[in-house]
């Protein structure tokens, strides 16, 4: 469903993503695990056609991310790390706009939007302005926005950043239901070991632009004789997750957390 071959992105001297090769199967939940600044977001932005790669290639649902961008966009949904739902519109309006952008036919549009609201447990909040929502509700709304057109692949960039543990678990359950009900392939990034453990069939541990380990969380743990993914991470990178993060990344993370209140 997703394959990358030597996918690389440099910004001047800095090689943010360094020749990564990945294969994600249909219906799989795959996680890129790593600290801020490891190159996870850059990888997602190349796969979803926002960033052109410097070298290498990739396919999403069989479509080339450079030559077949329109097809790639039609077969995927993307939830950015920042809170991207529009606070000055209602939940219904946020979804209606995306239903229109994704060419969902007029006759089924409202029905599809209401169905998405129910699926995400937001039907009570349908006509409320999104700026009155909690962080967890906004996140659910955003996932609804990006799955209205039933994409084959869903990209989630740090889906639970800034959420409290309860809201975090709700998002996990929804991702699992999307996979079960619609067979959606999910490609997510996270720096939370717990999230990777709970949600992902396989994880790729990303460190300084490279994939340093790849496999099921349980297998990675047994292979390295570790009790937790934290230890697995230490094993491959020699450092703890907390040791990383540029000023800019942290500033952005804090901004997101602040908006979530």
């Amino acid at each position: 469903m997703i394959e990358t071959r030597g996918l690389t992105k440099s910004f001047g001297e800095l090689v943010a993503v360094d020749h990564i090769d990945l294969d994600v199967a249909e219906g799989e939940v795959f996680g890129l695990l790593g600290p801020n600044g490891a190159g996870k977001t850059t990888t997602i932005k190349m796969l979803n056609t926002i960033l052109p790669p410097t070298a290498g290639s990739a396919r999403v649902d069989g479509h080339d991310i450079i030559r077949q961008q329109a097809q790639v966009r039609a077969s995927m949904g993307y939830v950015p790390q920042m809170l991207s739902a529009d606070g000055s519109l209602t939940a219904f309006e946020n979804l209606l706009i995306f239903a229109k952008l994704y060419d969902i036919p007029r006759t089924t549009r409202v029905e599809r939007v209401d169905e998405a609201l129910r699926f995400m447990g937001l039907d009570e909040a349908r006509d409320r302005l999104v700026r009155t929502f909690s962080g967890g509700m906004i996140r659910r709304l955003e996932i609804a926005q990006s799955t209205l057109h039933r994409p084959r692949v869903l990209f989630l960039d740090e889906p639970t950043i800034g959420l409290d543990p309860g809201a975090r678990r709700t998002v996990w359950q929804l991702v699992e239901r999307l996979r079960d009900d619609f067979h959606t392939t999910v490609f997510l990034t996270t720096h939370l070991m717990e999230e990777a453990d709970a949600l992902c069939h396989r994880v790729g541990i990303m460190h300084k632009g490279k994939i340093v380990a790849l496999g099921a969380p349980s297998k990675l743990k047994s292979d390295t004789g570790s009790q937790s993914l934290d230890e697995v991470f230490m094993h491959f990178t020699g450092e703890g997750v907390e040791a990383f993060g540029s000023y800019r990344d942290i500033e952005r993370t804090r901004k997101t957390a602040r908006r979530l209140g």
Binding site: A70, G77, P80, M82, S84, L89, L101, D103, Q145
Partner: protein, 263 residues
């Protein structure tokens, strides 16, 4: 034929959806339309009345207030539209731009939608300035045809300056740099035009700048259409043609550059 009609229909539909976002926002919270009206009111009531009384600026055939009203409409359209670049950077910081870019909507349609969004706000300024000008006794031309062409001119002006602003945002990419450049170009665009004084009064070098400034052609046509006894220097057809070319060129360039702001 179908191959041409289909993308064209898709383009228009997607641009209208982007503009619909703005319309819905304004419906939820129209206060900004009111606060935005204060500046043109001050220009007309204070600046306009003083210059009018003192007869400092010669405006053959028109009172100074008649001369000024179209200029102030063009000015407030410019000031509203030039803000769209900053809004683009905000929307990038929120992830909204990234999400729009990963939908199937053509990028030029997203930019045209933003241009149209600016147009919605600009039309509200048009209403306010007409009401105010009539209230203070400026002789306005209220024939329906004139008003319709004025609305088209307002939409074109908004499209040009909103897209210009969006292009700058895509090039500089940060709020801080945009603020500096935004101020650096807004005032020259305004003063190097026929908005508040005739081009005839300008030194030659400034005349040259004014003739390259789309605002000049917008004001020129507005002055003919809005005011009873107003005249045009270049002709309405030429004014409209120049503005159309500017708008289309800027939307095309904007469509190319829009993805850059998200990188």
């Amino acid at each position: 034929m179908v191959e041409v009609v289909k993308p064209a229909g898709n383009f228009v539909r997607k641009a209208l959806v982007v503009a619909e976002i703005e319309a819905r926002k304004l419906r939820h919270d129209p206060t900004e339309l009111v606060t935005r009206a204060i500046q043109p009111i001050l220009w007309l009531l204070v600046f306009g009345e003083v210059i009018n009384q003192a007869r400092l600026i010669p405006t053959p055939g028109l009172t100074y207030l008649q001369f000024l009203a179209p200029g102030i409409l063009a000015q407030s359209v410019l000031f509203i539209s030039i803000f769209y670049g900053l809004a683009t950077i905000w929307e990038r910081d929120l992830g909204i731009v990234q999400k729009l870019l990963t939908t199937t909507a053509p990028r030029t349609a997203l930019v045209a939608g933003k241009a149209l969004s600016a147009g919605i706000r600009a039309i509200s300024q048009m209403v306010i300035i007409y009401v105010l000008a009539i209230a203070i006794g400026v002789g306005m031309d209220l024939s329906p045809l004139s008003i319709i062409i004025v609305a088209i001119l307002v939409l074109l002006g908004a499209a040009i300056f909103a897209t210009l602003s969006l292009i700058i945002a895509c090039l500089v990419r940060t709020q801080e740099r945009f603020m500096g450049i935004g101020q650096m170009i807004t005032m020259p665009l305004f003063f190097a035009s026929n908005a508040i004084y005739p081009i005839a009064l300008m030194p030659d070098w400034l005349k040259a700048v004014a003739y390259g400034n789309p605002l000049t052609y917008q004001v020129d046509a507005l002055r003919d259409l809005m005011i009873t006894g107003g005249t045009t220097e270049f002709g309405i057809v030429l004014d409209l043609a120049i503005l159309f070319v500017f708008a289309i060129a800027l939307v095309l360039i904007g469509g190319r550059l829009y993805p850059r702001v998200a990188r």
